[in-house]
């Protein structure tokens, strides 16, 4: 019932919006801002399709009220310009592609937090980003490739 003015940055650009209390971040991104790279999959924080970075930390946009990101910096797949995308293509890190934005945003957060992440740390970190085409080996290879190139 209550409405809230929220301000945050989306991939570096200032956003100033007014939202009802129950508005979810994933809906603000997709429907209010047209940033549809972030998908809404399971809607209960399990699948990883809606992974975004909130001040650098990966979170599920389907579990965040938009009011909770007031004052933060949000990064979505639209804001990624890293060797990760090329590596996913080179290594066949996807098949149908629905999980790819979340995989990329999660992997980018990992390499920012732990540039020297081990293969086991990559597997553990990406565990919450489900790929139902089972492209996990390609995804893991792509992330390791970017890590090794640094």
């Amino acid at each position: 019932m209550s409405e809230h003015r929220i301000r945050f940055t989306l991939n570096g650009a200032a956003v100033d919006a007014t939202v009802p209390a129950e508005r979810l971040l994933v809906d603000v991104l997709r429907y209010d801002l047209g940033a549809t790279g972030t998908k809404d999959g399971c809607s209960v924080g399990v699948c990883g399709l809606c992974t975004v970075q909130v001040d650098g930390a990966p979170m599920s946009a389907c579990l965040l009220l938009a009011t909770q990101v007031d004052g933060t910096q949000i990064r979505t797949v639209e804001g990624l310009a890293t060797p990760l995308q090329e590596a996913f293509i080179d290594e066949g890190g996807f098949q149908c592609g629905i999980c790819t934005p979340g995989q990329l945003v999660a992997a980018d957060a990992l390499l920012r937090a732990k540039p020297r992440a081990t293969d086991a740390e990559i597997a553990d970190w990406q565990m919450g980003n489900l790929c139902r085409c089972t492209g996990y080996y390609g995804i893991a290879r792509a992330i390791a490739k970017v890590r090794d190139a640094r």
């Binding site: 019932m1 129950e22 924080g45 990966p58 957060a109």
Partner: protein, 283 residues
């Protein structure tokens, strides 16, 4: 999601005032991972949600004269990374690191986890074994609640209307104490445990047990202390017979529910198996 009013006070006093004004129709939100799902699924219908995120003092993790103080808004990720937490008990940091996925750990908080009172959660189990004490405050004052008095029933705590969970305090462990947390995950690594066990053990120079705590998750409608099992170890050498007897007593203390993670009988049997494994590790 049904519409609701959202308030996000800057101070704890303000938050307590708002909560006191309408405690029955106000739900307190920390990280929101559980509450947002419950609201999406229409399982709770608050008139008002009171967000705590701006109250920075609730985020603190610090070592005090009395031990370790963990703020209610500390995230699982922050607790898993905290040197102070690792110095107190590496098993506690490992417990937070074992919760769900990195996304949940970055959003979900200690206070939210405890107030949600889901018996399949990980942190309550290890915190029980570490003799955690919850500090809660209402407009009328502060209360210390030993963790095993916090959990009343499935998703039900002894927090009073108008109270906010502020922090958990952990007294220093006995010298040389060893702690472990074991999580039985037969399906996927991001799942809730079928059963889980935390054990904290200290022995004297001759190998006799001077301190024993055993706690179980997923084993009843609340996280459980296995007190008889603990008592059976006191004053004994932790040999094979003592460990097996304690594991059997721990299994007997459980009262699991049948669900997708196993039948009650299976969970009871597994509680014994995993208690035995935990005790062997710290004996």
């Amino acid at each position: 999601m049904r519409p609701f009013d959202y308030v996000e006070p800057e101070t704890l006093d303000e938050a307590l005032e708002i909560l006191a004004g309408d405690p029955d129709d106000t739900l307190v939100m920390a990280g929101g991972t559980s509450l947002v799902i419950l609201m999406k699924q229409d399982l709770v219908r608050p008139e008002r949600v009171l967000g705590l995120r701006r109250i920075a003092e609730l985020r603190e993790i610090r070592t005090t004269d009395a031990g370790l103080s963990l703020g209610a808004l500390a995230t699982h990720g922050a607790l898993a990374r905290s040197q102070a937490v690792r110095d107190h008990a590496a098993a506690l940091a490992a417990t937070f690191a074992a919760v769900a996925t990195v996304r949940i750990r970055e959003q979900a908080t200690l206070g939210g986890n405890l107030a949600h009172a889901d018996p399949a959660q990980d942190p309550p189990v290890t915190l029980l074994a570490l003799d955690g004490v919850v500090i809660a405050r209402s407009r009328f004052g502060e209360r210390r609640i030993p963790l095993d008095a916090l959990f009343v029933d499935l998703f039900e705590t002894s927090l009073e209307p108008g109270e906010i969970l502020l922090r958990v305090e952990l007294a220093p462990l006995p010298a040389g104490a060893r702690a472990t947390y074991k999580k039985f995950l037969p399906a996927t690594l991001d799942d809730y445990a079928t059963v889980s066990v935390a054990a904290v053990i200290a022995t004297d120079a001759s190998g006799v047990c001077t301190h024993a705590r055993i706690a179980l998750g997923g084993a009843a409608t609340v996280p459980l202390r296995a007190r008889e099992a603990e008592r059976s170890l006191a004053g004994r050498r932790l040999d094979d017979a003592a460990i097996r007897e304690a594991a059997a007593l721990a299994a007997a203390a459980t009262d699991p529910i049948d669900d997708l993670r196993g039948s009650a009988d299976y969970k009871r049997a597994m509680a014994g198996v995993w208690t035995e494994r935990a005790l062997r590790e710290v004996a």
